[in-house]
């Protein structure tokens, strides 16, 4: 089998897989569609231990109402149970989900998530079909088609997303400027050391944990992984925390750094669109030479 045949087979296999997964989504039998999604509430936040591990996130006790029995269920984020909770306060609403009929396999998420149609696999398969078609065209009609096929759609998608990215950036900047400032304290510095089995190199991850009280009286405990100087020696340090009143999980200890980061986000987005467009144009020019 030559390259052409192999690519045709590739496209056919992933095409069939995409159709099956699209069909499953239409029939409502994907894993995501069969997942029960609920809203839980943090009942208790356990203080982190200085020097401990960040694995598992901030220890919380969560309760939610089981729709099947109508009773309140209390769970914790012990073991493999979904997203790492990195900001917690009593009363915070978080997402709880579990496969239908298996409430013991619950998963927690930082925010209650909307229902999804489970199109992730189908989309991935469709992308692989597209990649195969681009490669097939490049082999049959010349390699510049690979540049057009990869750069063109990426540039179009990036350009379409650009206004939304600008709107999001403006929204985040507005929230940054409206943030409230309160005193906070580094209540623990978590330290995770992993050793590479091959070369014996040790890698250390330092995660400071902040605690601050909002003006509404909510005590927030959160991992602070950015903009804190000398994080390893930050235990007990007093800092000023800027937070969004509507969602204290959105906070920073360096508002200026946050504003700079937001400006760079849009610049990088525009640069990426320009690079992809240039790649596509180069392909088109090479085709005509």
């Amino acid at each position: 089998m030559d390259w052409h045949g192999a690519l045709v087979l590739w496209c056919a296999v992933w095409g069939v897989a995409a159709l099956i997964w699209f069909g499953m989504s239409l029939a409502g039998v994907t894993g995501a569609q069969r997942t029960v999604r609920l809203t839980g509430r943090i009942e208790r936040v356990r203080p982190p231990r200085h020097g401990g591990s960040r694995a598992g996130g901030i220890s919380v006790v969560v309760s939610y109402r089981d729709p099947a029995s109508g009773q309140d269920v209390t769970v914790t984020n012990d073991g493999e149970h979904g997203q790492m909770i990195t900001a917690a306060w009593e009363g915070r609403e978080i997402g709880v989900s579990h496969p239908r009929g298996r409430p013991h396999a619950y998963r927690l998420s930082n925010a209650p998530g909307p229902r999804t149609r489970g199109l992730g696999r189908a989309g991935c398969a469709a992308f692989l079909v597209y990649a195969g078609l681009v490669a097939l065209t490049a082999i049959d009609r010349g390699w510049p088609w690979a540049l057009i096929g990869s750069g063109g759609p990426a540039a179009v998608l990036g350009a379409v997303q650009l206004p939304r990215a600008v709107r999001d950036r403006n929204g985040r900047l507005a929230r940054l400027s409206a943030m409230e400032a309160v005193p906070g304290r580094v209540v623990a510095v978590l330290r995770d050391v992993s050793v590479d089995q091959d070369d014996g190199h040790a890698r250390t991850t330092i995660t400071p944990v902040l605690s601050f009280t909002t003006r509404a009286g909510t005590v927030v405990t959160a991992h602070c992984t950015a903009n804190l100087p000398d994080p390893a020696g930050a235990y007990g340090r007093e800092v000023t925390v800027h937070y969004t009143a509507a969602d204290p999980a959105e906070f920073t200890v360096d508002r200026a750094a946050g504003e700079r980061s937001e400006k760079w986000d849009v610049i990088l987005h525009v640069l990426a669109v320009a690079v992809f467009a240039a790649v596509a144009v180069a392909g088109a020019v090479l085709l005509r030479v």
């Binding site: 200085h50 006790v61 209390t74 012990d78 409430p103 396999a105 040790a202």
Partner: protein, 369 residues
Amino acid sequence: MAITAGAPPTRTTPGGLALGLLTGAVIGASLTAFIGGCAAARTPLIVLGLVLPTVFGLLRYLGTLPRRARERAVAPRTALAMIESLEAVGSEASDVPVRFDLTVAPDDAPAFRVEFRQTVNLVELPDYRPRGIVVVEYPPDRPWKMRIVTRPTPAWEERAARAFLDSAPGPSLKNEPSKGCVGGLLTLLGLLLGTGAVLLLFRADLFGPDAGGAARKPSVTSSSTFSSTSSSTTITTTVTSATGTVALGPGRSMLDEGELRRSVESLTQGADQRQALTVVVQDRLLTVVWSPAGVDAAGFDPRSLPFDRVAALVEEARTTLGIDSPRSWQLTADGVTGSPALRVTVTGERGTGILEADGQGRVLRRNGS
């Protein structure tokens, strides 16, 4: 709390041992096939080496799907347990593997002992001491899959704080697979059997005269009067009373160094006096039309063709006749009497060109499209 000891379930099954044997066989067979196929340049063996473990893995995945679905459907049981002993196995990381020996006391079942390993953060290690009470979680049908709950719910935390448990007598269930020597030996036996099976079944490919570099030598059958055909993986030679043909396999060309000469000689072996009326050469095909038997004066000796000039003539025809994107070429040597006349025909997208040469390979004329 007074507790009753229960008997630990057995874990090693004949099915598990057979699966170990089969897994070993697949590993041995696929590795041998892949390495042997690469060494002997045998594509089917290489493919076998890749496909066999893939298919086995897929079948094993599909075969265990119902069991895994059943296991996932079982809700884990939570219970109190007492630490009989613990031993840090040691690690340079912040999470240390610790071997625990616990007495587990389920609410509605007899107590039992279990040994398992769990990583514990160094900072939390002092929390675990002999006689200490912890909350554990395990699948009821596989109690050896035990783990300590480091963040119990407040209700279980409260129970653990107030509980006192007695030790249950051993022996302990063990977390690590306990197939023991028999399982390991069976897997090793399977590995050897798989390796041996491939070596035995494909001995001709791996150790035969055609293995390795010898595979490229053509297998030749020649007959001056009767038709016979034989083929190897790279060359097919057919000799009949009227014609002789040599077809090359993929990736080879009559323009390769010495290929045309070898092909002509393979057709003329044992037929030294045989004359040809026409010789037609294409990229991977050589056809010789023999002169009729009994007509000794007709034709020419195909071994007299200017083999060293053929590649240059073809290249010249492709580049100097003004043919756009030449796609194929054909060299025809005709000679009813004496020296043959050569004609190279090149076909492109929009036309055909012909280059003519004498028996020594000297260009006589060119005709473009």
